[in-house]
C-alpha cells in the first residue's frame, strides 16, 4: 500500500524553473513548478516558442540561480526546431553567465530535440523518456520537458464526431497521465504550448469560461484555448499570452506626413493555477530573449 508523504518535510515552496527573467518570475511565483504540468496558450506570433527556448536555457542554470541544473527534452510538432535562433540565444546566454558553468559548456549539448507528428508518436516518445533519464546520469539529469505544441497533434487527425472525440479524450488523459507520472517520479517541470481558436458565439455557454480571465483577447479577437474543456482538465496551470497592436501618432516628419508608430504589446496572464493568484505581466521579445517590462501601470 502507498504510504502518505509527510508534508512538513516537503520544502515550503515547490521548486521552480525560472523563466530567465526576474520580472516575469516575480509575477508567476518564480517560474514553472516541478512535479506539475504548465500550459502556455497563445495565438501564433506571441512568443510561445521564444519562451520555451528560453526555458531550455534557464533550466541549465544552477539551482541557486532558480534553474534546475538540468538538461531538457524538446518535442516539436508544428515547426522544425528553430536551431539558429536557439543557437544565437545560447551564445548570449552563456556570454552573460559563463562564470556559472564549467568552461566549454555549450547549452546546445543539453537539449534533446525530437519531432512528433501524431499523438501516438508523442506517447511513444514519452514512453522512452524514463530510459533516457536513467541514462542521462547525475550530471545535468533531464528535468524539463517542453512540448511545442500539443494542438498541432490533434487538430488534423481527428474528426468532430463522437467516436473520434472519445478517442481524443482517452489520448489527452493518457498523455497527461504519463507526463504527470514522469514529473512526479523525476521531479520534472513540464511545459506545453497550445494554440487558440476564435470564439464565434460571443454569449456562449457561461460555464465555458475557464479560469480567472473573463475573456481572452488577442489581436482584438476573442479567443479561447484549443482542444476544449477536456484538455483543460489535463493541465495543472494555464498561462495565456495576449498581443495587442497599439497605433499611436508619432508626430509629423519633415515633409508634413504623419508618422504612425505601431507597437506590439504582449502580456502573459494567469488563467488558472493552484498556486498563483490572478496576475499578469507585460513582456517584450528582444534579440537576447523574453523579458518582462517594468514600470507599467
Amino acid at each position: 500500500m502507498l504510504l502518505p508523504e509527510n508534508l512538513a518535510e516537503h520544502p515550503p515552496t515547490t521548486q521552480k524553473c525560472t523563466f530567465g527573467c526576474p520580472i516575469i518570475d516575480a509575477h508567476f511565483g518564480g517560474g514553472i513548478p516541478v512535479n506539475s504540468v504548465t500550459e502556455v496558450v497563445a495565438e501564433s506570433g506571441c512568443g510561445k516558442t521564444q519562451l520555451s527556448l528560453q526555458l531550455l536555457l534557464s533550466a541549465q542554470l544552477p539551482i541557486s540561480r532558480g534553474g534546475l541544473s538540468a538538461s531538457s527534452i524538446y518535442i516539436h510538432s508544428e515547426f522544425p526546431f528553430p536551431l539558429r535562433r536557439f543557437h544565437s540565444l545560447s551564445l548570449s546566454f552563456i556570454a552573460a553567465r559563463s562564470h556559472l558553468f564549467p568552461p566549454g559548456h555549450d547549452p546546445c549539448d543539453y537539449v534533446l530535440v525530437q519531432a512528433a507528428h501524431s499523438a501516438d508518436q508523442l506517447f511513444d516518445i514519452l514512453s522512452k523518456v524514463e530510459a533516457l533519464v536513467e541514462k542521462s546520469g547525475n550530471q545535468f539529469p533531464i528535468r524539463l520537458i517542453v512540448i511545442d505544441s500539443i494542438a498541432a497533434l490533434f487538430r488534423l487527425d481527428y474528426e468532430n464526431n463522437s467516436s473520434d472525440l472519445k478517442l481524443r479524450t482517452y489520448l489527452f488523459f493518457k498523455i497527461s497521465g504519463r507526463l504527470k507520472m514522469l514529473a512526479k517520479r523525476f521531479q520534472m517541470a513540464v511545459m506545453i504550448t497550445n494554440q487558440v481558436v476564435d470564439l464565434v458565439d460571443p454569449d456562449g455557454v457561461n460555464g465555458l469560461k475557464v479560469g480567472n480571465v473573463r475573456f481572452l483577447y488577442s489581436s482584438g479577437r476573442r479567443v479561447c484555448a484549443a482542444l476544449g474543456m477536456t484538455w483543460a482538465n489535463c493541465v495543472n496551470t494555464r498561462l495565456f499570452m495576449s498581443r495587442t497592436e497599439e497605433v499611436s501618432s508619432g508626430g509629423v516628419d519633415e515633409s508634413g506626413e504623419e508618422i504612425v508608430c505601431c507597437k506590439t504589446r504582449r502580456r502573459l496572464h494567469v488563467v488558472f493555477a493552484p498556486h498563483l493568484p490572478d496576475s499578469s505581466c507585460e513582456f517584450m521579445i528582444t534579440r537576447d530573449g523574453v523579458f518582462g517590462v517594468v514600470g507599467e501601470q
Binding site: 500500500m1 502507498l2 502518505p4 508523504e5 509527510n6 508534508l7 512538513a8 516537503h10 520544502p11 515550503p12 515552496t13 515547490t14 511565483g29 513548478p33 512535479n35 506539475s36 504540468v37 463522437s162 472525440l165 479524450t169 482517452y170 489527452f172 488523459f173 493518457k174 497521465g177 504527470k180 507520472m181 514529473a183 512526479k184 517520479r185 455557454v205 457561461n206 460555464g207 465555458l208 469560461k209 475557464v210 479560469g211 480567472n212 473573463r214 476544449g228 474543456m229 477536456t230 483543460a232 482538465n233 493541465v235 495543472n236 494555464r238 488563467v271 488558472f272 493552484p274 498556486h275 493568484p277
Partner: protein, 347 residues
C-alpha cells in the same frame, strides 16, 4: 414463537419448516415433534424449552433478535443525535456554509464538480486545513487524508491557507497576549501540514488499491475526520475502452468510501471534473464519469461562474434544499464573496 427466531441450528430450523412448523409453543408434544423432525425426544424437549423461554418475554426477546440481526443499524433519533455531535466542517465562506447546512457534513459523501480554475483544489485544501480547527473554536479537530490524483496540491499554497486560517481564528477570539502566545505555539503551520496525510497517486490501479486499504489506514489513525479525493475522475478518463468495467470499479470504490464515511464517522469529499457533452447537436456541460457512478454520493455541489463571480449550487442532496451562494478565492483561501458583503442580495 416464530421458528425463524429460535436460537437453534439452521439444520433444525430447516427441518422444522419442512415439517410444516412455522411457530412453536410449549404446549406441543415433544414426542410428536421428535418424530416429525427425526430427532431424539431429548432434543425436541430442548427446542420446546427454548421456544417457551422465548415466549416468556416475547416482546423484548423479539426486539433483541431484531436488533441482533440489524446490529449495524441505528434509529433515526441516534442518527440525528450523531449529526449534532459530529457536526460540520466549515468551508470558511459563511454563505456556502449556510446552503450546506453548516458546512461539509461528516458521515456523508459530497461530490464537488466544476470547470478547471473554479477553485476545486482550493476548496479541497481549505477543507483539509479547516478539519483541524480545534473544538474550542467550533471545529472538529481532526486530521485529513488528501488523495491527489492530478498533482495540483501545492505545499506553498497550503501554507498560505493555513496562515489565513490561523489569522482568522486569532482575530475571532478576544485573546490576551499570553493566550495568543500559547495559541501560536500550539498551532504552528508545520503542525497543520503534519496532520494532512498526503497521497499522490499516479494511476487508477494505485487509486483503487489505496481506497481499498484506506479502512486499515484509518483504523490506525482514528483521528482522521476527512478524506478528500482530488479528483476522482482523472485516472478513469484514460484507457477504459470497456465502460462497464469502469463503472464496476468506480461503484466498488464508491461503496468502499460510503462504508468508511459511515463506520469511521468522517466526511468524504470527491472532486469531479466537468466535460462538454454533445446533446442534440449542442454542447452541454456535465460531470465526468457518467450518471451511474454518482448515485452513491449523498450531496452534489456544482461550482460555476456567474459573470465574474464564483458560485456554488446544491445540485443534489437528501436533506438540503437546492440553493446557490457566491464565494471567492482569496490569498487566504476560500472566503465570502466581497461583492456580497457590499450589497445584500435579494434571493
Amino acid at each position: 414463537m416464530d421458528v425463524g427466531r429460535l436460537p437453534i441450528s439452521p439444520v433444525l430450523k430447516e427441518r422444522l419448516i419442512k415439517a410444516g412448523y412455522s411457530t412453536l409453543s410449549s404446549s406441543f408434544s415433544p414426542s410428536l415433534l421428535a418424530r416429525d423432525l427425526n430427532i431424539s425426544e431429548a432434543e425436541s424437549n430442548k427446542i420446546l424449552a427454548l421456544a417457551s423461554q422465548s415466549n416468556v418475554l416475547p416482546s423484548s426477546s423479539g426486539n433483541n433478535a431484531v436488533s441482533r440481526a440489524l446490529s449495524c443499524s441505528q434509529s433515526a433519533w441516534d442518527m440525528l443525535h450523531e449529526e449534532v455531535v459530529f457536526g460540520h466542517i466549515t468551508t470558511s465562506c459563511a454563505e456556502l456554509d449556510k446552503i450546506l447546512g453548516g458546512g461539509i457534513s461528516c458521515k456523508q459523501l459530497t461530490e464537488i464538480g466544476g470547470v478547471p480554475g473554479i477553485g476545486k483544489t482550493q476548496l479541497g485544501i481549505q477543507l483539509a486545513v479547516n478539519v483541524q480547527i480545534p473544538v474550542d473554536y467550533g471545529g472538529v479537530e481532526g486530521k485529513a487524508i488528501y488523495i491527489d490524483t492530478e498533482g495540483s496540491f501545492m505545499v506553498e499554497r497550503t501554507l498560505q491557507i493555513v496562515k489565513g486560517c490561523i489569522e482568522d481564528l486569532s482575530e475571532r477570539s478576544s485573546m490576551t497576549e499570553r493566550d495568543f502566545q500559547v495559541f501560536q505555539d500550539k498551532w504552528q503551520p508545520k503542525n497543520f501540514l503534519r496532520n494532512i496525510f498526503y497521497f499522490r497517486v499516479c494511476s487508477y490501479t494505485e487509486q483503487v488499491d489505496l481506497i481499498n486499504n484506506l479502512e486499515t489506514f484509518i483504523s490506525a489513525h482514528k483521528d482522521v475526520k476527512m478524506v478528500i479525493v482530488d479528483s476522482i475522475a482523472f485516472h478513469f478518463r484514460q484507457d477504459f475502452e470497456d465502460l462497464s468495467s469502469r463503472t464496476r470499479i468506480l461503484n466498488g470504490m464508491t461503496s468502499n468510501l460510503i462504508k468508511i464515511a459511515k463506520d469511521s464517522k468522517l466526511a468524504v469529499v470527491l472532486m469531479n471534473q466537468v466535460t462538454a457533452k454533445q446533446k442534440e447537436g449542442s454542447f452541454q456541460l456535465t460531470l465526468a464519469l457518467g450518471n451511474s457512478w454518482s448515485q452513491g454520493c449523498t450531496n452534489r455541489v456544482i461550482l460555476y461562474w456567474n459573470g465574474n463571480e464564483r458560485y456554488a449550487y446544491i445540485d443534489k442532496s437528501a436533506n438540503l434544499r437546492s440553493a446557490s451562494a457566491p464565494y471567492s478565492v482569496t490569498s487566504k483561501g476560500i472566503r465570502s464573496s466581497i461583492s456580497n458583503c457590499k450589497r445584500i442580495k435579494m434571493m
